[in-house]
Point group: C3
Chain length 269, copies 3
């Protein structure tokens, strides 16, 4: 039995869609506590949903059920799936929203949700969040084994996540997410970055701008400069102190970030 | 005893108004689990509140208490009421927000909330959500019978919901809600529409635009076309694939939608 | 043991930051019910966070734990603290966010959070909400005494809250918050205002505009006029009926409001 079901979607909060999903879950298992991760994922942006889910799921206790519905292909051929890991179950469309779960977790099994006993009596073709995914999450929370929902799936769909590349003396990555504060979150990991630090000093450029740092906290930066920091997700972030780097510098998703050895480094041991 | 109290309002989420209501409820009954339906109803838009409530309430388990506060007339003459149905209780201002509950549910009774024992010790004239409705919902959740809150009311206020009309060979309706995805939700029901389908082929026009479909899912549509689908609420929706029909076509609430028999239908049996 | 942990932040709802905090709390104490006050505080606006918290905390039951994270100085020298009052515990950065708690409540003690046993195993310098404050709130909810978190602090930081001043025949205050409805909430309290009422009639001006009222409710006003009302927080609000005074009149935070005796008052007893 699980008590916590998290919800992530692109449904926004002005309509009743999220409420309907919570109602369905509580109608099947009134002991569940629904916990929102976010419903403000940009409409149809599966990658953004995958990233936000990846930033939050690992903090929940074992046996949490995560419902993630960014589902532009609802009613089409993408399958509804459950991904079971040693720590949690993930319920949603098989469209890549669990890409980072596959990357980071040991997946025990993935099944397609096909058993109508665990769906709404009448399933619409426009709102599987309410008619397929919420009922599945609720039945999982009651202890129904994953196998009973449907046949195993070889492996779920994965998105082509932009990877930072190391090319000679340069690492090239890009901004993959802009957060509420206007921080520009890149796909350059701490591990990749540290290869530069070990070799000597490094320089960071974002599009054509010099970037200070990396600093250990936002506090070390000066106001008005663009600086780097390893943010709470372990990825290199480019920020502007108490301001939105996104708005102040006009930079956003897809902007190229380069890390190179400083020209002066050759003289270093 | 009820454990679930849903909340719907136009209070937004940047102020502490929703938090104050939840605090009041939990102060009276700490065992309640408050569940948000939406607080992003447009300010003072009672009809939007009624529609969003109608899209969500029916999915909650029996004995749920629904608090709905879109209340531009707070402090004036509109009464605070409780509407009891066989499935649930609804608490809010008597201003039409429960119009669709009256249309769809068998109402057992409606009472005016007048008993000060079930209100805040000091009742403001500007925030009945906190001082009247939240305490009433919490006391209901503790099992206080509806009759103890005040005298019966003949029937609550109802809004003049725009109805689709069937006029000879044409059904005329209008867009009554625009959702987060920019889907244009009309007041044409499946029953009304099916009368056309039974008679032969049909044509759909929204303002001066041809509308494809109706399709069974968003997936069947082509990108760039305006198409019809019966959405999750059972109403005819006009959508644009992976785009906002609202933004892409500049159409919104009040836009007229017409369903007619195709000119070529006369040759059909 | 406490069951309710409220959360207030400037984290917005599009990222996974709030979800991560809730996950951490539930990972430590799965019996907690997290209750959102607001996550839409303007980024870095400590004063706004203090005001919204002040409008909500007092309605929650005794022993509630309030987590408040508007924390532009995260990773710098400001301390993480717990403020214990007879009714509740407040957890957050020592940057003034608890200013109004210090003003309104009898504080039993304030301690700095320094004990690593009650923090994340690895503490980032960019997200203390997740790594310091959420764990502290969760451990408090399990009954850990406040003293075990760290040494006492003389008194937490307080912001310089703009105070209304009484100057001869005039009280001068300012707009300190604009709410979702566009109501302009001033720092003129009912007590201060009543000194004018006792002396005779009063006049209210906001910037260069005459303000009607104060009325007892929004309903008494005429549409199109700017009027005063004592809002749900006990402070003088300037509103516009069923419209946003903020948008319709172009007035916002910092606008000066003056209350004076009417010129004609001299003839009054």
């Amino acid at each position: 039995m699980s008590r916590i079901v998290t919800l992530l979607s692109d449904f926004g909060s002005q309509d009743g869609y999220v409420g309907a999903m919570k109602g369905v879950i509580l109608g099947i298992n009134p002991r569940v506590m629904p916990v929102d991760i976010s419903h403000e994922i940009e409409a149809h942006d599966i990658m953004a949903g995958a990233l936000v889910l990846a930033g939050a799921y690992a903090y929940f206790p074992p046996r949490t059920i995560h419902l993630a519905v960014v589902d532009p292909g609802v009613g089409g051929r993408r399958r509804p799936i459950i991904v079971e890991t040693s720590q949690a179950c993930f319920v949603g469309p098989d469209n890549g929203i669990f890409t980072l779960i596959y990357e980071r977790e040991e997946v025990i099994k993935t099944v397609a949700i096909e058993n109508p006993n665990f769906m709404a009596p009448s399933v619409s073709r426009t709102f599987h969040g309410r008619d397929v995914f919420a009922p599945a999450a609720a039945h999982l929370s009651l202890g129904v084994p994953v196998d009973e929902f449907g046949p195993p799936v070889e492996r779920g769909a994965v998105l082509n996540v932009p990877q930072a590349r190391l090319d000679g003396e340069t690492a090239e990555g890009e901004v993959i997410h802009v957060d509420r504060f206007g921080n520009l979150i890149t796909n350059i990991t701490g591990d990749l970055f540290n290869q530069f630090v070990e070799k000597g000093l490094e320089e960071i450029r974002l599009a054509s701008h010099d970037v200070a740092g990396p600093y250990e906290s936002y506090e070390e930066a000066c106001e008005g400069e663009l600086f780097a920091v390893f943010g709470s997700t372990g990825l290199l972030e480019i920020s502007s102190k108490r301001a939105s780097a996104h708005e102040a510098w006009g930079l956003g998703k897809g902007t190229i970030v380069r890390v190179t050895r400083s020209p002066g480094d050759e003289t270093k041991p």
